[in-house]
Subunit: 747 residues, 2 copies
């Protein structure tokens, strides 16, 4: 009987294993996410967990300490808390930015250690191994201490689990070290299971230090500490009294105290004595409003939930979001780079408001309250080009809330955002991109926001000639049609203003404001005055209208400062007039000259996949009849060359998802070629079938399908919409979303 | 009719004026308080308002800036926020210590300015004039801005009133500058009428930096600011990034923001635009527990009360306290120095608990709660000698709460206090003085505390040979009878332990613990082993028991470090065996030799009125029959020489009221000559009549009267108690408090 039963159990077991394996093998979109992608080559992504558009996130922090040079945070301009090839880990930061170009956040560093408490991160740091990075989960072994760290996160709470060996174990919370260049923190151990505090961050891109702001937190520990304490390394005191201060400038250990401690270099330690292997979970709630809100975020979002529960919930949330696009065909790596890119587009803009709806208004003069989601981290110079277009198509409710957030900023501040970061306006980069995003959103039929107010805000930015923080040099621009070399990056900035003006003219037209529509349409073409037909390039002019001399079109590659252009040179910016490509063609002398000049950028290696001004260039061959195959070839080549399933698998800074959005679109076979205008251009999809679920709140169709047929390596022969030939490489947003199937046939 | 009425009004007016004048001329005890006394000559008193035993106080702050050198806080060991002869005022500090010997507190600096906001105190500071200092009130003109400042305080709230001229006016709250050497603060403007924050203080006497602790505050303004902001001057950033930080190390102005700012050098400004002369009141509530408690202290103690109301209430409180001793006869100056001294004895120990009873326990591991008053600032090495004896006699309820507070500290910390300051144990000075104070209190009949626990605590301090923070060197002391030169100040410390042991033996006896009584009595005489009868002085011994060589008895005057003694030399300490003066006499060879040696101290200018070890010396002539007149002469001479109605009117540090208590007793004609033993010695009173009201909760008599008769300049001829000759210059506490009249007849 025993034997008989054993057989039955064995059989059941086999069936169960088959079931489990089949579940595992039916990979969900979230299972393809590989957060290690973009963690090298300055991608500036981080491998740790975050919920979709989460406020909190956890990143391993390995950019401090000489062991990590040259990719060490104080040795160069380094904008990420983690670099894949670095070896020296000093903790796990609880708030992080993904894919940005300036060092910021990367603070509130949690670190497990064993043995005596050591508070100097250069001494307590460790090598690490066995990294596992997935959507909503990261784990790693901390070699020096034989501690395993596992991490997950809800929207506003990071959850860390440490498995300690027998003996003395410590959890350090270091508020001194951080990626940000700001200093200053406060900490208070509330009890042997709870810590509260704040850390100053800000001055993004070394700008606006007066806007530095606090991030508040509450940390709850699953096990009561046997001992706890706070440390502070004070600044050195000068003056004759220093002779009486044996402790001058030295770190202080303050045991078992619940007093508030402030300083630049402070932290706390929780210490345990374990008889056997034990785990400690630390849940850290974050808020940009107050410690009370951080505590509420923690309680309401996570409370007593187990690590696995939080992980499961956030994993499910990711899976739901990523499942909005289903892909069929394509290799595992293709799916991995695709879903990881989509994942990267769902990190920023992120949630700013607390669970109770509160958030700091722009300039922090007041605490606001929202019913929906208040979004933050608007790197609009990047994202106006494709990311928001992707949101409008796939996540229109999010895009609507992002537009509402931008309009709220105008209410609070008097201006639309330019590069908004946690309710500070960093004024990084140039141009007036919010108008483009809002117009684009509206013209795509997402209209549940106050468009009249938005329009008023756009006009203010476009027309106020004095004291206009959004559009410096506007007087020259309006009077002369271009910015002169008295301004920073005058050609680039003129182009940016043109693109914005074009978007405004489209919106004006839609709103029935014909005069404005005409006026802004005219303004949008003024870049033409900067076109030097001898060079077939755009070129800066000095104040008297003469060309700037001597002019080297190559100067400005690799982000060098140069006269004329911002983060780029004349080649890279030459085609950045997406709204007037036909006009540009005429300036250049027609299709052939245009095509030749475009090709030259690729041939001369001036093309920079990592920088926004030229990322639409490969698609521009679609404007030349008969040369569309060059768009297909270039796009495919760039995807293969720059986007890969490995740490260096992004071309450079992800720019809060802009590079990733480029990839998502490019692999789907469409691209929003004219920011502000609801139109896509078409290339060969990289999957057999792409199904985009549409949000019924905004769109009539359930979904749209993009299919490919024929030879995947061949040129596009025919494009069909609902079975009928399209006879163009362009399709309007309306036609796309009201269509059923877009079929691309290659031969 | 008009004229007739005018006459009536005139008459009424004259009557009123007469009434007012008579009210004014009938001066109350509080009217004699001159807080300017002790604000020079290192008296370390401050002239601003404080309530009796108040937590909050306001002092003009004039010890920063090169203008104030040499009495500038960073140029020397300076322990006071205000020096009378200094000229450059940089604000009004909201928490202050009175009469201590180390720089501490003197933080949260409020400063009115006009014109553009300037945040550098060296630039915004001003000369000042027209100081008025009274009990509970201080006013001054701030010359540079033509602003009048007036100040009063309740127990936990400082109230400032500024009268501004027309134009832009500012109220600065500077959390950077301070008397303390600690750094670090937090500030948050809550609204245009409220600020909250904290400031780190601690490391008193350059000790125990790890015990640095926060003082929390909430400031409420009577008028809403037109503009407000916060400033921060950050530490300078090092590293390659400094090249991109144009703002590196520079002060930042942050306008109209409600964010939390932390840093070493921070502050806030409230700005007004006034059309005419206007006043702004600022009420600042203090707490050592939390911002919430500071807010509650402010609301419950002061709330919306007018400046005048707060002043009147605190004035009344002072008057009630000071009226416990009524003096008749004596000059106005005599009354002034007397009541100011009594006022100084009622500042420390001061209240630590908040309005709701909460206070930080010792080491800040917990928030405690008290029903009565939790006292703090126990400078016991000073105050065990006379201040607590004065409290037991005149304010026994306060003394009882002080003893209870000390026993609470033992509960929290495992040890009685030594030099406790806002729940940190600074371990400043030597000896084990709490035992003396508790025994003295109990033996005077104040017994509403847990004496058994107190006794247990005393024994722990007296007997625990290892890891005893109160009595380092105890093993040597117990085994050899003295500390050897391996310890700091071995002779002084032996003497201190002897005095404590004597007090313990007295209490043991009273509690029926005969063996302990005997043991500690024996221990209390061990100083005799340090008596070098060749020198007639106490002298240090080295570890093998030999005398320390070479020995210079003069070394150690003026607070020089020396082998053997703490803050003094062999001469100054020679008579500090108050419990065994008869034994000392025998050692010296009898009355004559004793008297000669005592006289030598005065003749050789070794006597230091400003230092505790020898302040009882003038009274020691009472131990030599026929030489009591020398006590009378010396006491009177010292009172006249060192205690005067002027800024330099204290001999040196008031030592939290110890010098003042000496004066109060000396002017009343009695002195508690043996700390721990309920006995007074008698000298000639300096008033015709002194009436001490006794607290019926502790004493049977309503009051005791000390009268003088005959020639005030003559020697004492007869002393009578209740009309009967006393025939001794000593009187027990029981006889005094149960008597009715002590009459001293001089001829």
């Amino acid at each position: 009987m025993v034997l008989k039963n054993k057989n039955i159990i064995q059989a059941a077991c086999i069936l169960y294993m088959l079931f489990v394996n089949s579940t595992i093998s039916a990979q969900q979109p979230a299972d393809f996410v590989n957060p290690i992608i973009g963690t090298s080559n300055y991608g500036a992504a981080f491998p740790g967990p975050i919920a979709p558009r989460g406020m909190a996130s956890i990143s391993p922090f390995n950019v401090s300490g000489p062991q990590n040079r040259p990719l060490e945070k104080d040795s160069q301009w380094l904008s990420n808390p983690y670099v894949n090839e670095n070896t020296f880990l000093t903790g796990f930061s609880q708030v992080n930015l993904s894919g940005v170009g300036c060092p910021e956040l990367g603070v509130i560093l949690l670190m497990p250690t064993t043995g005596e408490v050591e508070i100097d991160h250069l001494k307590y740091g460790s090598t690490y191994s066995n990294e596992v990075a997935k959507a909503a989960y990261y784990s790693v072994n901390i070699d020096k201490y034989k501690v395993k760290g596992e991490f997950t996160a809800s929207k506003r709470v990071g959850v860390s689990r440490f498995t300690f060996p027998k003996g003395q174990s410590n959890v350090l919370l270091n508020l001194g070290v951080g990626l940000t260049n700001e200093e200053g923190a406060m900490i208070k151990v509330v009890s042997n299971t709870e810590i509260e505090g704040m850390r100053s961050v800000g001055s993004f891109c070394y700008n606006s230090p007066e806007d530095a702001y606090p991030v508040y937190f509450v940390a709850k520990f699953s096990k009561a500490a046997d001992k706890f304490g706070v440390w502070k390394k004070p600044a050195k005191y000068n003056g004759v009294e220093a002779q009486w201060m044996g402790y001058n400038g030295k770190a202080r250990m303050m045991e078992n105290t619940i007093k508030t401690v402030v300083g630049d270099s402070i932290g706390s330690y929780f210490t345990y004595k374990f008889d056997k292997e034990e785990t400690v979970e630390v849940k850290i709630g974050i808020s940009y409003v107050s410690i009370e809100n951080a505590r509420e975020n923690l309680a309401k979002e996570v409370g007593d939930k187990a690590f696995e529960t939080v992980y499961k919930e956030t994993y499910d949330e990711w899976n739901e979001e990523l499942s909005k696009i289903a892909v069929e065909g394509g290799s595992k790596d293709d799916k991995t780079i695709f879903y990881t890119a989509l994942y990267h587009t769902l990190i920023h803009p992120n949630t700013l408001n607390d669970f109770n709806g509160e958030f700091p208004e722009i300039k922090r003069s007041k605490i606001g309250k929202t019913e929906g989601t208040r979004y933050t981290v608007f790197s609009l110079w990047d994202t106006y080009r494709n990311l928001h277009q992707l949101m409008s198509l796939v996540y229109p409710k999010q895009q609507s809330d992002m537009v509402k957030s931008m309009i709220q900023m105008y209410d609070e501040n008097g201006w639309l955002p330019k590069w908004e970061l946690n309710s500070t306006e960093t004024f990084t980069m140039v141009g007036d991109p919010a108008s483009i995003v809002i117009a684009d959103t509206y013209l795509k039929g997402i209209r549940d926001f106050d468009v009249q107010k938005a329009y008023k805000a756009m006009l203010k930015g476009a027309d106020q000639m004095e004291n206009n923080p959004l559009r410096p040099g506007l007087k020259d621009y309006i009077q002369k049609g271009f910015l002169t070399t008295d301004n920073r990056g005058p050609v680039s900035t003129t182009q940016e203003y043109n693109i914005s003006d074009y978007a405004i003219s489209l919106l004006a037209d839609a709103l029935g404001k014909k005069a404005d529509a005409k006026r802004f349409k005219t303004r949008s073409l003024s870049y033409r005055k900067l076109f030097d037909n001898k060079l077939n390039l755009l070129r800066p002019r000095i104040a008297n209208g003469n060309w700037y001399e001597p002019f080297d079109p190559n100067s400005g590659a690799n982000f060098e400062e140069n006269v004329g252009f911002i983060e780029g040179n004349a080649w890279q910016y030459n085609f950045m007039v997406p709204h007037d490509i036909n006009g540009l063609k005429r300036l250049m002398g027609g299709d052939k000259a245009f095509s030749a000049q475009l090709q030259k950028i690729f041939d001369s290696k001036q093309f920079d996949m990592a920088n926004e001004p030229d990322i639409a260039n490969p698609y521009l061959f679609n404007y030349v009849k008969g040369e569309e195959f060059k768009a297909q070839e270039n796009v495919k080549r760039l995807v293969r060359e720059y986007f890969q399933n490995k740490p260096k698998g992004l071309p450079g800074n992800d720019d809060t998802g802009t590079m990733s959005a480029w990839l998502v679109y490019s692999m789907m076979g469409i691209y929003p070629i004219v920011p502000g205008e609801p139109v896509y251009t078409i290339t060969a999809p990289m999957f057999d079938k792409v199904t985009i679920k549409l949000d019924p709140q905004y769109y009539k169709s359930d979904s749209i399908v993009i299919e490919r047929q024929g030879n995947p390596e061949g040129k596009i022969n025919t494009i069909q919409l609902n079975g009928k030939p399209l006879n163009t490489f362009f399709i309007s947003h309306d036609n796309l979303v009201n269509g059923k199937t877009l079929k691309v046939i290659q031969n």
